[in-house]
Symmetry: C2
Subunit: 351 residues, 2 copies
Amino acid sequence: MLWMKLRLGEIGERGIISELTPLFSKPEHVLLGIGDDAAVLKLGENMVVATTDMIQSDTHIPPQMTPHQIGKLVVTVNYSDLAAMGAKPLGILVSMGLPPDMLEEDLISLAKGIEEMATRYGGCMLGGDTKNSPRLTLAGAALGVPYNKQVFTRGGASPGDLVGVTGQLGLGAAGLETLLRGLDPKRFGSAVKAALEPEPRLLEAELLASTGAVTAANDVSDGLAWELYEISAASGVGIEIWEEKLPIPSVVSEVAGELDIDPLELALHRGWDYELLVTLKPGKTELVQQLLEERGYKLSLIGHVTEGDVIIIHTKKDGGGEETGVLEPRGYEHLTSTSRASRLGAWKNRD
Amino acid sequence: MLWMKLRLGEIGERGIISELTPLFSKPEHVLLGIGDDAAVLKLGENMVVATTDMIQSDTHIPPQMTPHQIGKLVVTVNYSDLAAMGAKPLGILVSMGLPPDMLEEDLISLAKGIEEMATRYGGCMLGGDTKNSPRLTLAGAALGVPYNKQVFTRGGASPGDLVGVTGQLGLGAAGLETLLRGLDPKRFGSAVKAALEPEPRLLEAELLASTGAVTAANDVSDGLAWELYEISAASGVGIEIWEEKLPIPSVVSEVAGELDIDPLELALHRGWDYELLVTLKPGKTELVQQLLEERGYKLSLIGHVTEGDVIIIHTKKDGGGEETGVLEPRGYEHLTSTSRASRLGAWKNRD
């Protein structure tokens, strides 16, 4: 029998993570290595949070996105990881692979987009590198410091903690579907805006950090279900959520209706929302919600942390009554047809 | 008359640099922004040095390179920028664009190469991101701290300083030519090894930093001529060098002879050497050379800093006697046929 050599497309992201993770060591100056939204380094009395994320045309950038929006996006995807760590941006480095036939004016717009988002939350564009590349490729690396002494991790949730999510779910995915499947963008404008101009939730992260109530956090870029399972795995807990508590705006249901898909698919498994998912100490949730609402933000409590290792979702049955099931640990890569379980993706898992 | 829209391939790197540089702002916590081999941030009492560099198959990776060597290369190109700043690595982040048909065993070799080079000088692999990509794309972002309180910059050279370079010149370029133009790799083994396994000059950087004698520094990745002009421009000085003092090993002349090109072309304009180019306070050079030699390293003094803004090179004429000319400000991008002046490349210029 031949020993078959495996190719990455056959192994998928989880296989890649589990193969690579044990190969890397963690010296003492690294407080948190591969294993969260970002690494955390100790530097004298200070902590530095560092993360990297890459986007490429065709696979990660909707064709309708303007160069200015693309520039903002490479910052957002990296700053969103800082937000998930409760960290304030110091700045971002961007390596750019640029097609020689790209218009000069488009590169300038792209750079202005980087500058706009890089500076919006106190950071800046730190530097970069440009190379020839047939596909537009933008690799960002963001640095930050904790808003409030400690970082958020995925591993601190305990049974009894409440589960909260900022903003709305499914909006970015509904916007992407509108753009990619030819629906009328004017009809679903709020969703399209969320898809083309996602915002890192740094102001929310700062407020959340100030409360000291956060026990674990993640950003929802890969879909709520996937992110819940990441917290579950890192914290060694289960989670129970209720469909009726999920902040799914009506436009998500409308887009789903047009496409004849379940709105929950958009809200739970598609991501592109860049909201923050947090677990909170149970005694402090009212205070936290009030603080965010005072500043014009929303935090929806969608469930609680349990013993165990699965995510349970309670949904309403059509005829009334409740149905209880295990939430599928399934995410989605935008602009490709592969599901998360069989794709390459972010691998950041080791303590 | 039509207003012609320019494309990046027509503008070249210098055009891109001068277009983009004014678009980015520098907040107070950034000591050195776009404008050197790396950015320098202030963090409490500490400085953090941060840089990014990307490599892609076809354009930046010789086809003969093994996955393990490719893994080391993405670290080397980033750590070499830290060396040029006199900074010790804390670690590196790597965003990976991976072809789905890449073999699993090749990815593991590549990761082991990253780990080997990332940890060799006290740093580590901090984390990463994997994405589907038709071309292998590796974007690194390295973090470091000064070996000796202050960083090296390009802008500190003064007339009277001496100019030194570590190791040998032209070796990496000769190795690349051997590989890419079908010469016998066994015959030019030392050059091929230099091309396939370049080493960041961090140990030399540490020794140089300890002397306090360095006034400006650069790495020679893009060719000595180019790097001299970068120091010249940043410091507002001229430089004078002597061909006979350049540390060009005989294998470089042999490869050049086989290809019927001038060995000076390989030594001055091709790069891929990853040596350190420094300017030194004139009174301290003997001490510095002795310190490096004691540890088995070499520092060749090749010229001195002058008033003005051009680089003068003194060469030997065939019939004896000396010829004096202006060194062309010309570099080279490996694995493409374009010269530096008309290509995209590293742009890191603003204070």
